[in-house]
Structure formats: C-alpha cells, structure tokens
Symmetry: C3
Subunit: 443 residues, 3 copies
C-alpha cells in the first residue's frame, strides 16, 4: 500500500494484519512490542524509539522491561494443564518468575477466571505490584483437583526500555494531526489490534497525498506510553491542532465517538459531522477522564483537542478483555467502515476553512456565471444550489465551512465543492489564519 497506488485497502487487508499480529505476546514493555512495530513498519515508514527503564517521564518513571519465554502449570501426574504457548493470555502480565510446587489453595489464590463465562480466559496484568498469576477458563480451574501443582514462569523483569513507534507524514504546515493507538495488549483483537490496523492503513492511505497538516501516528503502550511520548515531545505538543485515539474499532457495534475535553473542538465537530451524515447509527459521548490515552492528552496541563473513536465502548461487551476478543470478533467490513470514517474526518479537517464573500451585498447573480446546478457529482441540484447560497450567506469570516455544513445540514464535501466553485468565480476569498489550506488536495 505504500507504493503510491490508489487502491484503497479492504477490510480483508486490515483483518490480515490483525491475524499476523494476533499471536505476539505484547505488554507495556518487552520484545513483543518491537516485533509488532516491525510488522507495522512493513506497511508504513515507522521510527521506533526505545526509552530506557528508569527515565523520568512527567510524574512517572519508565518501568523495568518484562519478557517471558515459557510458563505452565503441571498437575501431580506431570501433565501440563495450563500452557503459555497455547495463549499468551494465560499469564498475568508482568508476572515475576517462579518455579515451585504449590498447594491447590495457593494456585487458586493466583488464578484468575470468569465464573460467569466459564470457557473464557480473562486478560489480567499487574504492572506495578510484583506478583505472579495464571489466567484460565473457570471450567478448567474447577477441574483441578490434585492437592499440589508445579508452577513455572520463565520471565524477567530487568532494566531495559519502553518501545514505541511513530510514523510522521509531513504536510504543508507544521500543525499536527495526532492519531494514537495502544500496542500493549497481547492476543486481543478488538482491543487493540483493530486500532493498530486502522491507524496503520490510514497512515498508508495518507502517505502519498498532498496534505495541509503534518500527521503523526503513534503506536505506544497505554498510559505509560502516551506519558512518555508527551514527555519526549514537550517542545512540539503545542503544534497539535487535532487528533484522535483509535481503540476497539473492529467489532460489530455502531461507531462511538468520545469528545475531547474541549467538547466542541474542530475534531469533535468534524467527527460528529461525519457520523451524522454516515447514514448509520452512531453514538457520541462527552469527555470523561477515564478510558484510553485521551486521558493523558486531555489532562488539564495539555487539554489537547483529541477525542476517541471506538465501536462498542470498552467494558460494555462481554468479550472485552477476554480470550473471546479473538479473530472472529473483529469483522472486515466494520474495520473498513472505521477506516472510511477516519478518512472522511481527515477530509473535513483538511478541507475546512473560513471565507469572505466578496459580493456580500445581496446575492451575486448566479445565473450569469452558470452557477445554478453546477456542483454536479453525487449532489442533487437542490443541495448544490443550497450549498452555494449557504456558503455565500455565512461567509462573513465568523463561520468556517464546517459550521456552514452544520447549519445547512449538508454534507461537508458538498459545501466544500460549493466554496471551490465560488472561489473560482471570484466570489469568495479565504480568510487566512493559521495553516494554509490545500484546496481539495485530499480525497
């Protein structure tokens, strides 16, 4: 996809990337993240950054690096009843190494199950409390009746580094659109291989376009990763104009957008506009300081205009953080729909601007200029004419095109095309403020 071809990636392309990444054991540090980034780097140009353990980042410290090679539980007969090789979910993330015979009682204390979903293995971590543990189906745990078990975890928790990847796509301006996704979850597809896949293919799509904005795609471990990135990019954070977190964008649910802390930032308006005109059901929720990395980007010391695009919100579906969030749970057409939505949002961000009507007294004579029914394309003549009239009427320097589209209840691209036509006819002039806009260069 990075060869400049114009074929848009399919849902199948996205799903195949997810399938590639699914077996890798990821955590907030460790080799699995690097492996994941290498695979993404085959699709888009990616800079990989290693930040040493112990580095102070904002109020936090980069933790030791965790790696795991093998782990199992064996019963009295020596039979392996739980094996990390079957699923990396079986070991609690950041488990300390252990090699010991334990009583059934002690094993149960260190076992995590889901009694309501007895066939699913839960996903658990313990980043900042040193402990060990196994996750397994509740039904399996109930079947363990031996008095003692051998437990073995061959892991290491040592000074190393935290790894994240960034794909920077320069645009005409230094102003930045930030797209962020977390890469710290092991074999869970919706959360968040789906976000990784959509981000990667979105970057791939935008790579060769002429862009007004510079795009920065970051692939990083949740919380500590975004905190590290913010710390390391302190001098550039103020350039961020828009952004969104991608998380859980492959399941069958409707799209849900969580607004930035600002609430009515351009990104909030752009996503809401795109969803409003999508023809599909969707949800909008206000910002709250719980959730994904928007928590960090929207902390009061930054207050960045960054929202979060999801399908089913985290915690609202029973597959969440369990082995049921697998390759069947993410659907190619939903992945493609999420990517399309992101591209439409980018079109709005790229195409938005404020204009001045140069013939503001009365309506200019459209007929003389052939501006009736002239928008064409997928637009009805009525909508086309309405778009022309609305752009003329509201281009007083106080309304950007997105505001005009909102007020007129017309699709942004229709309004954008009307503005182009009026500009070509000398009836409209952009009010320059901030970044220059690349007219129609995107989409």
């Amino acid at each position: 996809m990075s060869d400049g071809s114009t074929t848009r990636p399919t849902g199948g392309d996205l799903h195949r990337l997810i399938a590639d990444l699914y077996p890798i054991c990821r955590s907030i540090t460790g080799d699995g993240v690097g492996e994941t980034l290498n695979r993404i780097g085959e699709i888009i140009p990616l800079d990989v950054h290693d930040v040493p353990s112990g580095t102070e980042v904002l109020d936090w410290t980069v933790p030791p690096e965790w790696n795991i090679r093998e782990a199992w539980v064996r019963d009295a007969s020596g039979k392996t009843v739980v094996d990390f090789r079957d699923s990396n979910l079986h070991v609690v993330g950041y488990s300390a190494p252990i090699e010991r015979r334990v009583t059934r009682e002690e094993l149960v204390e260190h076992a995590h199950t889901l009694p309501d979903w007895p066939d699913r293995t839960p996903y658990r971590t313990s980043y900042y409390d040193e402990t060990w543990g196994f996750c397994m189906p509740h039904r399996l745990l109930e079947g363990l009746s031996d008095p003692e078990y051998d437990v073995y975890i061959d892991s290491s928790l040592e000074s190393g580094s935290l790894t994240y990847g960034e794909c920077r796509l320069p645009g005409e301006s230094d102003e930045v659109v930030l797209v962020s996704c977390h890469v710290c979850h092991p074999s869970l597809c919706n959360d968040n291989l789906s976000g990784i896949a959509v981000a990667a293919f979105l970057a791939s799509e935008l790579a060769d376009r002429k862009k007004r904005y510079t795009y920065r795609f970051v692939f990083l471990p949740g919380t500590i990763g975004s905190i590290t990135w913010l710390a390391q990019n302190a001098a550039e954070v103020h350039n961020i104009r828009h952004g969104f977190v991608l998380a859980g964008v492959g399941d069958a649910g409707r799209l849900n957008y969580k607004r930035s802390r600002q609430g009515r930032a351009d990104i909030d308006r752009a996503v809401e506009h795109v969803l409003t005109h999508s023809g599909a059901d969707y949800g909008i929720e206000d910002f709250s300081p719980y959730g994904y990395d928007e928590r960090q980007y929207c902390s009061p010391g930054y207050d960045l205009p960054i929202g979060c695009l999801m399908r089913s919100p985290w915690g609202t579906y029973p597959e969440y953080h369990t082995s049921a969030d697998d390759l069947d749970f993410v659907l190619p057409d939903r992945l493609a729909d999420s990517l399309d939505t992101c591209l439409s949002v980018v079109d709005v961000l790229e195409g938005n601007g404020s204009y001045q009507n140069l013939s503001p007294q009365g309506e200019p004579q459209l007929g003389r200029r052939g501006l009736y029914d002239s928008i064409g394309g997928r637009v009805s003549p009525e909508d086309g004419l309405l778009a022309v009239l609305w752009v003329l009427n509201l281009s007083d320097g106080n309304h950007d095109l997105l505001a005009i589209a909102e007020r007129a209840e017309l699709r942004f691209d229709v309004v954008r095309r009307a503005a182009d036509l009026l500009e070509e006819n000398g009836l409209l002039e952009e009010v320059v403020s901030g970044a220059p806009r690349s007219h129609g260069a995107v989409s």
Copy 2:
C-alpha cells in the same frame, strides 16, 4: 381607509383588492406592475419609481422591460386552443415574440404542464434565457393531435424600466421598519396578491397614527426589485431597525414565521411573542438563504433584522405556482388574521423599551399608590399584579419590556400597561437609547 377613520379593514376589503388586481398581467418589469401600483395608490400614498433598463444595481443589471399584448395557439382548423386573454399564466414570463407555424413536437417542447394535476396551468418564467413557451393544463396538451399549430406571441423585450412603489410613513424617529412584498407574479392570489393586500392595508392602518418609527412599505418585483431598492437606498439602509417580508398570507394554513439571519433580533422576538400568545397554531423556522426577498435583506453585507411572515410556506402546497392559486384559495378571515398579526407585531415594536426601576431596593409599597388590581381592561387582577411585579423586578436596564413579557409569560400589552402605570407613579424611568418611544401611541 386613508381618511383617518378608525374602522379597521375587514377580510372582505382585503379580498376585494386582491380580486381587483387578479386579472393584471405582472412580471418583474412591464406595464402590469405600474397598473398594480396605481391601484394600491388609491389606498395609500405611494411613490412610484422607474429605474431604467441597464442600470447597475449591486451585482446585477436592470433587465429589459417586457410587455405582452396578445398570445395564442391555433390548431389546423384555425381554432384558438390556448389564449393569453383567458389567463396570463398561459405564456411563459419574458417569452420572446413569435409568429410561426410549428410542428406538434416543437409545440410540446415549448409547452409546460403539470401531469400530476392535469387541470391546472403552471406558472413559469424565463427572465434571463431568451425563449418562448406556453403553459396549459396537461389534459389540454394531451388533446392536441394536429400535426401543426400556429403560435403567436405579441410581446416586446426592450429597453425600458423596472418599476417599484414605496409608501413612506414618517414617525418621530428616522429609524425604519421595512415591510416588503413582491409584485412580480401575474394571476396568483396567495403568492403574492395576499402579501400586497396585507401590506397595503397595514400601511393604511398606520398612516394616521402617531408612530415612533418611520415605516417604509415597498412593493417591488422579487429579487431584482429588492436588489434595486437596496442599491438605490444605500445611504439609508443602516437606518432599518426591524422589518418583515409578507408573502403567501391568505391561504387556510397556520401562520409561519421565518426568522431573520440574526435569529434573535427584536423582530424575531416580537413576531414569536405575538404568535405564542395568538391562541392559534403557528410555526417558526430558522433563517435559510432560500425563499423570498429576505434572501437579499439578510445577505451578509446587510444582515438586516428582517424575517418573513407567511401562512403555508412556499412550495409546500400543491396550488403553489399554479392556476389553482386563485381567488377561492385566499380566505377573507385568514387575510384579516394576517393583518391583525402584523398590527400586533407593530404594537410590540412601538411599545418596547428598557426601563429603570426607581425604587429598586425591596418592592415599593404598591398598596399606598393604589397599584393593586389597577391594570384593568381584559387583564385578570392576578396577571395585572404579576406584570407590575415583573416589570419592577427586571427593570434593571438589562431587560426590555419584551424580554420581561417573555420571562413572565404574559402578553406584551399587559406588561406595557404595567410599565405605563409604574411610570405614571414615578416608579419607572425609560432608559433612553436610540429612538424615543411614543408611549402607548399605537394600538
């Protein structure tokens, strides 16, 4: 009605004026407009202005003047099958002259019908594309089976003038209330002989009253007429404080008010207040840059506080722009109701003002001054006392009487009377800003 008598015009009076004007063939220029204005001039003092063809007005140019004397279609036997004398709707407005034998096919190409309403003749114009055409019932067109027809249009499209009328009623102040209606439609009653009639009789009603504002009633062709008027009154446009367009105010539908572009201008609040307290169903719609001459008045270079009062909105009823918009389609009592509404709106505009409570600490002792139950009239004692208390409470310079009526959910006249009583008792003083107000002089 212009002799100063106080008898309010009846719905019958309005309908009779419409009947007088109905047969006249009007267009955006031509003798029909002048004839129409002459008849209006019998009711109110009217200045008639002729603006030469070719005059540049804002972004437009005054077009050639169109006149028509005769037009018909005759079949092979010489029988007249379509005749302009039967209805001026039969000829497309601004049709070029023609005298020729045409094939049935060519006639059909130049014929306009309404297949869904086969007995109605549509109304069509072609101001800026030189062509010719006939409008007729679809049933009639279907019956034309001769291979050839003679078509004859004795029209002229020559340098002349655009004509409009204005009735200026001076008030105490130079600040203007503008009432505008279009006079360019031929034999169509609701659109817009109804607007013409209500405007004319509203002017007649206000002519001899003492008025705070100067009133300007303009009778002009749609679009090009208001553009011409704006161009010719450039030095005075800034005096316009309130205004409304009257269009389609005679049909059986409920009243609908379309807000000015400002949305919460005094005129918008005044009309909404009157409709809210009318006891009848009504509609309010936001401004859009489509519709009648409010499009021009509300273009961003003017942004005047001018809305549009209608009954059924244009395009929403099947009689719209057809021969079915006839004398039966406009109802005397609806015309009278529209006129009454306009008069109530004028009462609010004239009576509104901001006051200062001169005894603002605690309530003044109303009993000592006989101010309990003192409003009288149609008002209940409770409403009267409430009005007095609300006026005292909110007269802090930040609320005009209309805002107080809105907040108190009381009729404006009740609040106005309370303010008068309080002023007489030395408890209230007007906050002068802009035009002086003529206390209670209106209504």
Copy 3:
C-alpha cells in the same frame, strides 16, 4: 441542643417546638411575635430588635403595633357563637376595635368563610385598610339566623414597634449565609411554624461547628420585616454570599426549590445538587417576583443569591391559609428531611472551592501514592477513583468542586473527599479567592 451535644434533632423535636408556638397569636407586629422569639431564644442565641412605628424603611413605613385581647360574636340570646379564645384565626388580622350591635346583614359583610370547605376557618388580614372582620366556618355562618348580633373586638392599633429576631453565628469569614423565615402568621403550622422550627434547629446544629461562613438566621414578619431588616443592615448586605428562605417545609409534599433571581448562583447549584442526589422526588422552579421574602432579597437593587426552600408551594394545597394547616398537617419525618436537606446544602457551601492540579501534565501516578480505592466510606471504589480523576482533570482554576460534582454526576461529599486526599498528597492546591474555606470542618 445548644449545649454542644452532637445528637442531631429529631423530627419529634421540631414538631414539639411547632406545638409550643401554635397557640400564640402572631401578626406583623404585636406581643405574639415577641413571645414566639422568646421561645426560639431558648434553643439558640437570639437578638431581638424592636423598630418603632413610623420608622421609614426603604419605600415603606413601620406600621402601628396591633394587639388583641378578646373578641367574640354573640347572638340574640347572649350565647357566644364565635370566640377569639377558640382560635386566633377567628379575627381578621389588624382588625380595629369594635363593640356594637349589628344586623345579621352587617355581620355577614364582615364575615369571611370558605364555602367550598364549610368546616374550615380561613386566615385573613387587613394590614393597610382599617376595618374589622371575623373568620369562621361557612357552616357556622349559615346557621346564624338571628336578626341582630353583638360583636366585640378588644384590639388596639397604636404606636409601638415591629419586632424581629436574629441569631448570628460567626464564622472564619465575614461573608454571610442568610437564612430567613417569616413569623407573622398566627395558628398555622406549615406556613410558617415549620420554617421557624427548621431554621431554629439548623442554627442550633451549626452553632458549635467551626464554620467558614458567618450565618445569620432572621425570624421576621413577612414583607415589612425583611424590608425593615434590609434597611437596618444596609452596610452589611453586600457581605451576603448565599441564602435561602424557609417556608412551608413540614407538609407531606416533595421538596421544591425556587431559584434566586440570579438563577445559577452557588446557592441554586448547591440546592439543586443536593436534591438531585437525595434519591427522592423534588421540584425546581425559576425565580418569579411573587412568593415569600425572596421577593425583597431578590429585588433588582439587591439581587442577592437567595432562593426559597419549600415542600408543597404556597397556594397549591387546600389547607393553605386555613385552620386545616394545623398540627396534624406537619409531619415529623418531613420536618427532619427538610432540616437534613438544609444541612447538606450547608455542607456544599462550606466545602466548595476551586483548586489547581499541581501535576497537570498527564495523570499523576496514583498507584505509587496509594490513591486507588482510597476514598472508602460509603463510596464505591469506582466512584472514588472517578472522583479523583475528575478532580484532577477539572482542577484548572475554572471549575469549583461543585461544578466537578455536577459534571461527574457524583455526590459532592465524594468529590470533596477526593480533593482532600489529593491535597494531602501534594497534588492539589486551593485557588484562594474570597473567603478561606474550612476544610472538612462541617459535617
């Protein structure tokens, strides 16, 4: 209750005070008010003020003092048919003295009854029109068939004074919370012995607490009393930061809060917050210039942030201003609920404040500081953590804790406790503006 004990008064305590005060004949002046204040003075420290008749207070004049010793109506046989000793409602308040034989017709002219409620005696006054009158059950009046009656009212209307009481509880700051209730009604329990009882026991509860604000509880005759108090406290009125009127807070109805004229003052937000989280039905109404003494406090020359807390609003229940507003009509548990609500409102006012997040870039690491699940008490761990995150996120100097509680939809005390924890951990600092806050000193 004034001995500093921490036992909260019960509904029974409140009802017993009402029962004590019920028999006393109160009016806007006269001995009954003094008697009432003496009884309240047994519960809380109370300064009693006498303002001489004839004193000019704002736009009003303190009226003569009215006292009554005896009053009756006797029939032709000398039998007493109406006796002031049975109920002080039987005589119209401010009745002039009379000792005369009158015809039945004259008696009927001076009799007040409720034909729809024939067994109830209405409550009537005539403060500013000198007259005399008797109130009685309609059924009793209908039974009076003698041609003549002896009427006797031994009252006096003489220069004296208007009496009100004030309990001032000093706090750390001179900023004042005003609690006001009217004491001018005779034997009516809900209106307003309930308000008197809740105010008295609220003061008693707050007396020995450490308080940020100074509290002023005023017990005064309606209208003329608050006007007199405002006039006499002109130099201190500007210190009032919050306040509420207590009236009709003992009946079975839900709590109703009427907003101050400002509408979104802290007191309005605090009461609405408490009611929202009360778990019970409640009502909120906008300010109107009709009602109790909030009319005076919210007149435009003061515009104080003072609302009114009621249960069933005045005039909406048939017992209102009749002999049926008796000791059975006010319920101990409703009185206690009203008092609890007032205390919760005080907790919000005392505990509110604006803070600055001292680690505003990204989230501070809560785990390191043991701030997960640390709020405890009645709060769920989820709510506790959410409160911590919300306080951190919105402590940017633009949101006080009440705003954070509103935005987070969490109880104020949970948010307050989160702020305390964060402050103890050096993550939060109060933004000082106005009065210092007494951390957690209340409740």
